[in-house]
Amino acid sequence: MDFLRPASWEEALAAKAEHPTAVPIAGGTDVMVEINFDHRRPEYLMDLNRVGDLCEWEVGEESVRLGASVPYTRIMENLRAELPGLALASHTVASPQIRNRGGVGGNLGTASPAGDAHPALLAAGAEVEVESVRGTRRIPIDEFYKGVKRNALAADELIRAVHVKKADGPQQFSKVGTRNAMVIAVCAFGLALHPETRTVRTGIGSAAPTPIRAEAAEEFLNAALEEGGFWDNGKIVTPSVAQQFADLCSAACNPIDDVRGTASYRRHAVGVMARRTLTWTWESYRGARRNIEGAA
């Protein structure tokens, strides 16, 4: 094994072009587990900790450009207003020690369906900024996950940042596990209300070969909210609408039985989380609306 220590992003890209089998390591919370357990013996290990700008973020007009290695701890502490769904999801990642090291770039690189960041990124809307010596491209999050632990990266590409749309409405994240800390999701659900476009987006984790959106459920809910004038009248979402939404989210899953849970449990739990997160976010939206009207 060779240990590569690029001192800059350009050096990292050059090294990845020269050694496409090089495995990037940043927080190490996935890669080191595989090495410790002898599940992986990469030819080259490439340390990205020396590339400082990977740990930085910028809050822009429309979106946040989040460096691939910004630790989850920083996201929780600094981006709760801009990226509430991702901040909530970050807080459920493993433990403080892991959140101090791991970042969204690692979740995307590993592309496990159980990665905690994925449902939040899918619900908020995001693009992954990847780069190689050939150039830069931005991959929409919906096109990023290609299979179990497979993503859209080419062999010479590295993840530099993720551009996440700033919240224009309430967002929620929910995760099922046996305890609060140190849990790999049995399944997880992210939901974001987008009042500006009058749409709702979802993200489902650990209930299909890849993280997915429940698109049919979103379409149904968008139509139902529009038809009932809910965005304007701020009424509570009709229980039958919430239930139909939950059922469609369950139906979007394609889960497996494994040590953490059965397929039917996952399908059921996703429905429950869908209904709850819809209720939480909608209550928050109604509350915000009332405050605006009260002030006017």
Binding site: V31, M32, V33, L45, S95, Q97
Partner: protein, 190 residues
């Protein structure tokens, strides 16, 4: 490969390090510092917790090559680290030799008298928060860092800060007592 980094305030050098080796392995097997415990090797248990540039991390998940030029504090250097923090002077650190000889024994193994201890270590002894002792070093490093950041923690703060450290003996109640005691002593209440 060779890795140069600071351990407990002193520059150290590790040679013939395998590229896939963890920081934990280097500390235990190459530097003779077995205080950081090797248990799960997957970041689940927290017993290998050390501070890397001040931040608590699982040393089993840090590749040795990643610590080049960086600062590591282990449980063996915790007393010195805490002393420097309280008096505000830059001390000279703890040598490997001293670190290797460090024991929580002193002249009285029950009270720790005669050994220099960090306040959190003394609090663990006084509160009876140690049973088999395997999780203790990781808990000490994590708890000490929390008290540095948050001198007046709520129970929820303590639980969250220690949520990455598993103890299979005590049921955590005595550990909670110990951290509360250390916080109270730090605040001058006891």
């Amino acid at each position: 490969m060779r890795v140069n980094f600071t351990v407990n305030g002193r520059p150290q050098e590790a040679d013939d390090v395998w590229e896939g080796e963890s920081l934990l392995y280097v500390l235990r097997e190459r530097m003779g510092l077995p205080g950081s415990k090797n248990a799960c090797e997957q970041g689940e248990c927290g017993s290998c917790t050390v501070r890397l540039d001040g931040v608590p991390v699982c040393s089993c998940l840090v590749a040795a090559g990643q610590v080049q030029g960086r600062e590591v504090v282990t449980v063996e250097g915790l007393a010195d680290y805490a002393r420097q923090r309280s008096c505000g002077t830059g001390g000279c650190g703890t040598s490997l030799e001293e670190s290797r000889q460090w024991q929580a024994k002193g002249t009285d193994s029950r009270t720790g008298e005669g050994t220099e201890l960090a306040p959190i270590q003394q609090a663990f002894i006084d509160a009876g928060a140690v049973q088999c002792g395997f999780c203790t070093p990781g808990l000490l490093v994590a708890a000490d860092e929390m008290l540095e950041r948050n001198p007046d923690p709520t129970d929820a703060d303590i639980r969250e800060a220690l949520s990455g450290n598993l103890c299979r003996c005590t049921g955590y109640e005595k550990i909670m007592d110990a951290v509360r005691l250390a916080a109270a002593r730090q605040g001058g209440a006891v």
